[in-house]
């Protein structure tokens, strides 16, 4: 497997507090990689740094041969790295349909966009019913669906997901993981931050465990799933 995204010695600070303390990891092309860790470990911080919304104190993020840490956020999205952020970042004053259209902001292929629109609507039929309504009036879970659907509209090369199953009903959680596996099969690389550790590791080829800003474990998803330390710390024994 060839690698597509490599993080080297990435450190991110909020003022004086260093939240991510020099981590290195790689994402292989076409694979799902999971990042797990306790609250406050620095997972979201890592993702925001990859997307350029936080400027790293040191370290690089390589996409193929491009150092993303030197690019502005919109260029990072243009190069194919798209994130579903924590808290969803839904545009509440725009309609659902407009949110989705903006998902395809970096694309110019009209026909494909229309097809993809049909596709995401078929994944989340509720969104289609409410297409013309304001996104802000959606329920929490519905907004989560919209956020994922919107990211898919960008046809990313690398998809960064920050707790995509948060706030979703069990049926939908399963559905989301099924969809992730499915789109992963089409060759999409996924970097998955999840509290639903078991499910995440089950679909991930690789996983990293983050504790207080440092990577303490890296292994295949399978192995981590059975690692006693992981079970004890993150799967409630």
């Amino acid at each position: 497997m060839s690698e597509i995204l490599r993080i080297t010695d990435l450190a991110v600070s909020y003022g004086h507090i260093e939240a991510v303390k020099g981590i290195s990891l790689t994402l292989n092309k076409g694979e799902i990689t999971a990042l797990v860790g306790a609250n406050g470990a620095g997972k979201s911080t890592t993702l925001l740094a990859i997307s350029g919304l936080l400027k790293p104190a040191r370290g690089q993020v390589w996409l193929d041969d491009v150092d993303l840490s030197q690019l502005s956020p919109h260029k990072i999205v243009r190069s194919g790295v798209v994130q579903v952020a924590e808290g969803r970042a839904i545009l509440t004053t725009l309609t659902i349909h407009e949110n989705l259209e903006l998902g395809a902001y970096t694309r110019r292929d009209k026909v494909q966009i229309a097809q993809d629109m049909d596709w995401v609507y078929s994944l989340f039929p509720v969104l289609k019913q409410r297409a013309g309504g304001l996104a802000g009036n959606l329920s929490g879970g519905e907004q989560q669906m919209l956020a994922i659907a919107r990211a898919l509209m960008a046809r990313p090369r690398v998809l960064l997901l920050d707790e995509p199953s948060m706030g979703l009903a069990p049926l939908l959680v399963r559905e989301i993981f099924r969809v992730l596996k499915e789109i992963n099969r089409t060759g999409l690389t996924i970097f998955l931050v999840e509290q639903n550790v078991r499910q995440a590791l089950r679909i991930a080829q690789h996983g990293y465990v983050l504790e207080t800003g440092k990577i303490v474990l890296a292994d295949s998803g399978e192995n981590l799933l059975h690692n006693p330390r992981v079970i004890q710390a993150y799967m409630g024994g």
């Binding site: 997307s51 919304l53 956020p73 919109h74 990072i76 952020a85 902001y105 802000g136």
Partner: protein, 293 residues
């Protein structure tokens, strides 16, 4: 008389709308009440005046040049002042205070360079006098202003509603962070907005300078207050609202003069504004997000 008053109202309302267009654009996208818009408006008419008067430039060219100059100033204000403030996530009133500083500076500098007295475009810059239309007396500038505000409004409106650019601008307005995540060149669009808004303000200045012969360093001040009224009336950053709010204010003022008393022109206009806000707390077009939690 009524038809003349209605036309007066339409043309006054268009002036307000024209001023408010750029104002509302900045407000809608950057979320900043740009109190330097009045000064930029004023600067627009000085630039055009200078070009027409000293360099004998034809008016249309001078108008474009004035828009370019004010646009650049708008861009600079954004680049040098508003952008650093955005980056630092400051209390939301702070950018507005910074624009007050800009307004004071521009006004004072203009006054230092051009003096305090009122100026006008040279005679003959535009066709003087009026033509009659039944009982109606209409001047060329009035028609021009009405036409231009409607056209600009329609153009801006279709950009905002129909294009990806417009959606992106509205996205930025709500959440720059979300917009970044969508691959929108947020800074670029902020600059573009500031440029366009200031250019529109400059154009308004030229047209108002042409029609009222009262170009002075302070001409932006009274407009500013009216402009704020218009954009609030129309609803936060709503393009349609700028026009309708402008017309509303124009009609309120003129009809107050015609049927109540010119002593209470502003009182009635602002009193009405007050009442409208009580009934529609987000202006005439403000959308209300009902969801609370």
């Amino acid at each position: 008389m009524l038809e003349q008053q209605l036309f007066n109202a339409l043309s006054l309302g268009s002036v307000y709308a024209l001023f408010a267009l750029g104002f509302t654009l900045v407000f809608g996208v950057l979320g900043v009440i740009n109190l330097s818009h009045g000064a930029i408006f004023m600067l627009g008419s000085y630039v055009a005046l200078l070009l027409v008067d000293k360099l004998s430039m034809p008016l249309p060219l001078a108008l474009l040049a004035a828009m370019l100059v004010t646009g650049l100033i708008g861009f600079l204000v954004d680049y040098l002042i508003l952008r650093p403030l955005r980056a630092r996530n400051v209390p939301h009133l702070v950018p507005m205070i910074a624009t007050i500083g800009v307004a004071i500076m521009l006004t004072n500098l203009t006054q230092g360079l051009f003096g305090t007295d009122n100026k006008r475009f040279p005679f003959g810059t535009i066709p003087e006098g009026s033509f009659n239309w039944g009982h109606l007396h209409v001047t060329a500038v009035q028609v021009g202003i009405i036409g231009i505000s409607f056209v600009l409004m329609l153009v801006l409106l279709s950009i905002m509603r129909k294009t990806q650019l417009g959606r992106a601008l509205r996205a930025i307005a709500e959440s720059p962070k979300a917009a970044y995540l969508l691959g929108i060149n947020v800074d670029g669009l902020f600059y573009l907005t500031s440029f366009a808004a200031a250019a529109l303000g400059g154009a308004a200045g030229v047209l108002v300078g042409l029609s009222f012969n009262a170009i002075s360093p302070y001409m932006g001040q009274p407009m500013l207050l009216k402009g704020i009224a218009v954009i609030i009336l129309g609803g936060m950053g709503d393009i349609r609202g700028a026009l309708i709010g402008g017309l509303f204010l124009g009609f309120a003022e003129v009809l107050t003069v015609a049927y109540i008393s010119s002593d209470f022109r502003d009182a009635v206009a602002f009193g009405l504004l007050f009442l409208i806000l009580l009934v529609r707390p987000s202006g005439m077009f403000g959308k209300i997000l009902e969801r609370k939690a």
